[in-house]
C-alpha cells in the first residue's frame, strides 16, 4: 500500500494533476441535478468512447479501398473471430449515439440549460450534433455496399444543386468525376481522422464549460434567469443546497452508462451487424437504395416535397435550422427556464418529434415508390375477376402487363404511388377513365402512345367493373340525355 502511494506521489510531483482532478470531482453541484434526467450527455460520451474502441478494432481488418472494402467487411462478418460482433457493436453504437445526443439536446432545451451563462456550451453542442450526424453518414459510406454507393449519388445530387459552385463541390466531395475509390478514401479520412479530431476537441471544450459554469440547476417555474444576478444566485444555491459531484451525482451517470452499453451489446448480439448489402457494382441496377435509420426522415421528405420547393428546401432549410439552433441562446438567453412555463418550447419539441417520427415511419414502407415487381408478382384478387367477361379479363391482363399495378393497388397489394383502384369506377365515368389513361395527369404518365385502341377499350372495361357490389358506377348524366339512353341504362355503360 505504501509503495503504491509512493509511486502515486512520484507521478504527481511531476504531473501535478491530482489536485485539479480532485477539485473537479468534488466540485459542488446543486442537489437537484443528481437526477435521472441529467444522465444523457455522459451516456452519449460513453458510447462515443465505445465507438473509438470498436472503430480502432475494425480498422485492424477493414481496407478503405474501393476494390477491397466490401470483401474486407465480408471477412469481418464471416472469417474473423467475433468480427461480426465488433461490427454490430459499432453499428448499433452509432444508432445509440445519434439517439442519445438528440435526447440530451431535447433535455437541455426543455430545461432551459442553454440560457445565460451556458450559451457557448449549447453552441458547441450544436456542432457536436452536426459532427455526430457527419460520423453517421460517413460511417454509412465506409460500409461500401450498394446502399452506400447510391447514397453517395443522392448526396452528390443534392450538393450539385448549390448555385454556381455545385458541380465543383460534387467533384470535391467525390474526389473525382464519379463515385469511385477516391470517394471512399476521402470519406475514410473524414470518418477516422478529421471528424473524430473535431469531436474530441469539442467534447473537451463542452465538458470544460460544464465544469467552469456548473451543471444547470433543476428549473423551477418562476425562478427567472437574469444576467446581472444569475451567477451569484447559482453560487448561493450550490452553497445552500449543494453536494459534491462525486459521488453524489455521478452514480446515476455510471449506472445509466453501463445500462446503455449493455443495451448496445444486447442489440448487437441479437440483431447482428448492418450489412453490407450487395456489392458496390453500379452495373447492378436491380437495387432499391435506402439510407440508414437516422436519415430515413430526409428520404421521406425528399419524396413528399413539391418538386419546385425541393431545391430551395434542401439548400436553405438546413442553413435556417442550424442558424436557428445557434442563435437560440441569444434570442432567449434570459427568462423562464422551466418547461412548465414555456409552452412554445414544448410544442416545438413535440412537433419536431412527431414530424421526424412520422417521416421515419413513412419511409419504412415508402408509399411514394412504385413496386417494381407488382405487375409480374402480385395476383389480381379473385373477387375482381369473378363473373367478368372476356373483354374485362383482357383488360385485367393489360392492367398488369402495362405495369399499372406498380403504382396502383388492388385489394391492398401493389404500389401506393397512385390511388388504390378498388372502387375507381365509383369515382370516374367511362369517359373520364379513358381520358385519364390516355392523357395521364395528376402525377400519372400518359399511356396514349403505349396503348392501342383495343387495349384501351379492354382496360377501361376492366376498370369499370371496379366498384362495390351495392354501389353503381359513376356515369355522365348529360351523356345519357344526349344519346337518349340514359333512362334505359342506369349503369352508364354503352348500349
Amino acid at each position: 500500500m505504501r509503495l503504491i502511494s509512493q509511486i502515486g506521489e512520484w507521478f504527481d510531483r511531476r504531473l501535478q494533476l491530482a489536485a485539479p482532478i480532485r477539485e473537479a470531482a468534488e466540485h459542488q453541484v446543486p442537489r437537484s441535478t443528481a437526477s435521472w434526467f441529467y444522465v444523457f450527455g455522459s451516456a452519449a460520451f460513453t458510447v462515443f468512447l465505445l465507438q473509438v474502441v470498436t472503430g480502432i478494432l475494425l480498422a485492424l481488418i477493414y481496407v478503405p479501398s474501393g476494390s477491397e472494402a466490401w470483401s474486407s467487411l465480408q471477412a469481418l462478418n464471416h472469417d474473423v473471430a467475433l468480427g461480426w460482433f465488433i461490427r454490430a457493436l459499432h453499428g448499433w453504437g452509432s444508432n445509440f449515439m445519434v439517439a442519445l445526443v438528440l435526447i440530451h439536446m431535447v433535455q437541455v432545451f426543455l430545461f432551459g440549460a442553454y440560457k445565460f451563462p451556458r450559451e457557448l456550451t449549447w453552441i458547441i453542442g450544436v456542432f457536436l450534433l452536426l459532427m455526430t450526424l457527419g460520423m453517421a453518414f460517413s460511417g454509412q459510406v465506409l460500409r461500401f455496399d450498394q446502399d452506400a454507393y447510391w447514397g453517395l449519388g443522392i448526396g452528390a445530387s443534392i450538393v450539385s444543386r448549390v448555385p454556381v459552385l455545385g458541380p465543383a463541390m460534387v467533384k470535391l466531395m467525390l474526389g473525382g468525376p464519379i463515385i469511385a475509390g477516391a470517394t471512399l478514401s476521402r470519406f475514410f479520412a473524414l470518418h477516422v481522422f478529421v471528424i473524430p479530431a473535431i469531436l474530441i476537441g469539442c467534447v473537451g471544450l463542452h465538458l470544460l464549460m460544464v465544469l467552469k459554469l456548473g451543471i444547470n440547476e433543476w428549473p423551477m417555474p418562476g425562478r427567472i434567469v437574469k444576467r446581472s444576478t444569475y451567477i451569484n444566485d447559482y453560487h448561493a444555491l450550490t452553497q445552500k443546497d449543494g453536494a459534491p459531484f462525486v459521488p453524489y451525482a455521478i452514480w446515476k451517470d455510471l449506472f445509466f452508462a453501463a445500462f446503455i452499453l449493455l443495451a448496445v451489446a444486447a442489440c448487437a448480439l441479437y440483431f447482428g451487424p448492418f450489412g453490407p448489402s450487395g456489392r458496390p457494382d453500379p452495373t447492378i441496377i436491380q437495387t432499391v437504395p435506402k439510407p440508414d435509420y437516422f436519415f430515413l426522415w430526409l428520404y421521406a421528405l425528399l419524396s413528399l416535397l413539391p418538386p419546385s420547393l425541393e431545391t430551395p428546401a434542401l439548400l436553405i432549410g438546413p442553413v435556417l435550422v442550424i442558424f436557428g439552433l445557434l442563435l437560440l441562446p441569444f434570442l432567449s438567453g434570459e427568462g423562464e427556464k422551466s418547461w412548465r412555463r414555456r409552452p412554445i418550447a414544448v410544442l416545438t419539441v413535440l412537433l419536431t418529434a412527431i414530424t421526424l417520427g412520422e417521416f421515419t415511419h413513412l419511409a419504412g414502407f415508402t408509399p411514394w415508390s412504385p413496386h417494381m415487381n407488382a405487375w409480374s408478382g402480385d395476383p389480381v384478387p379473385d373477387r375482381f375477376l369473378h363473373g367478368t367477361t372476356a373483354l374485362e379479363r383482357q383488360g385485367a391482363l393489360i392492367f398488369q402487363f402495362k405495369q399499372c399495378r406498380n403504382c396502383h393497388s388492388l385489394g391492398e397489394t401493389g404500389g401506393q404511388r397512385g390511388p388504390a383502384l378498388d372502387r375507381v369506377a365509383v369515382r370516374l365515368t367511362e369517359d373520364q377513365l379513358i381520358r385519364q389513361v390516355i392523357q395521364g395527369g395528376g402525377n400519372m404518365p400518359a399511356y396514349g402512345d403505349n396503348l392501342s385502341p383495343a387495349e384501351t377499350t379492354a382496360l377501361v372495361a376492366f376498370l369499370k367493373t371496379l366498384h362495390p357490389a351495392g354501389q353503381a358506377p359513376a356515369r355522365d348524366a348529360a351523356r345519357g340525355i344526349v344519346l337518349g339512353d340514359g333512362l334505359k341504362d342506369p349503369s352508364g355503360s354503352k348500349p
Binding site: 443522392i154 465543383a168 453500379p282 441496377i285 418538386p307
Partner: protein
Amino acid sequence: MSNETMLTRRGLFMNIGILFNSLVAVALAVPIVRFLLSSVSRERQDAYLAWVPVGSVSEFPEGETRLATFRNPYVMPTDGATVNTACWVRRVGGDQFQVFAVNCAHLGCPVRWFPQSGLFMCPCHGGVYYRDGSRASGPPERGLFAYPYKVENGLVLIRAGELPTPGAASAALDGKKSTCA
C-alpha cells in the same frame, strides 16, 4: 516610461519570427490547397471525357431500349467495380440513338426500363420517364440525362466519364449526336 509601447529587441525578433512563419505557411498552403482541389481542376478532364464504346450498333435492335455497360475511361488502382457503369441505350432508328444515364434526374437512383409500358421508373422516390427520356411524373424536374454519343466503325461511343447530377451543366447532357468525328 511605458515599455509596452516601445519595441524591444526581443519583441522585434518575435514579430519577425511570426512573419517568417506566416510566409512559410502561405508557401506551404499553395501546394496543399492545389492538392485538395485536384479533383476539381480540369487537368484530368481530357482523360475522363474520352469516348468509350457501349457496344456495336447491331447489338441494339431498332426501336428498342437495352441496358449496356461501359468502363469509365479514367481508372485509379483502387476503384474496383465502381468504374463499371450501366446506361440505357435506345436505338431510335438507323444511326439515331439516345443513351440515357441510369441515374434518375431527381437524386441519382438507378432507373429501370419497362418495355411493356414504355416507361422508366425510379425505385427511390417514384420518378417516371417516357421512352424518349422526357419526364412523365414524380419529383424529377427534368428528363433523364442523355450522354453525348457518336457512331464510328459500327460502334456506339459515348462521353460519360462524369457522374450526371441535376446541377451539372445541362447542355452537356442533352444527348445530342456529336458532329465532330
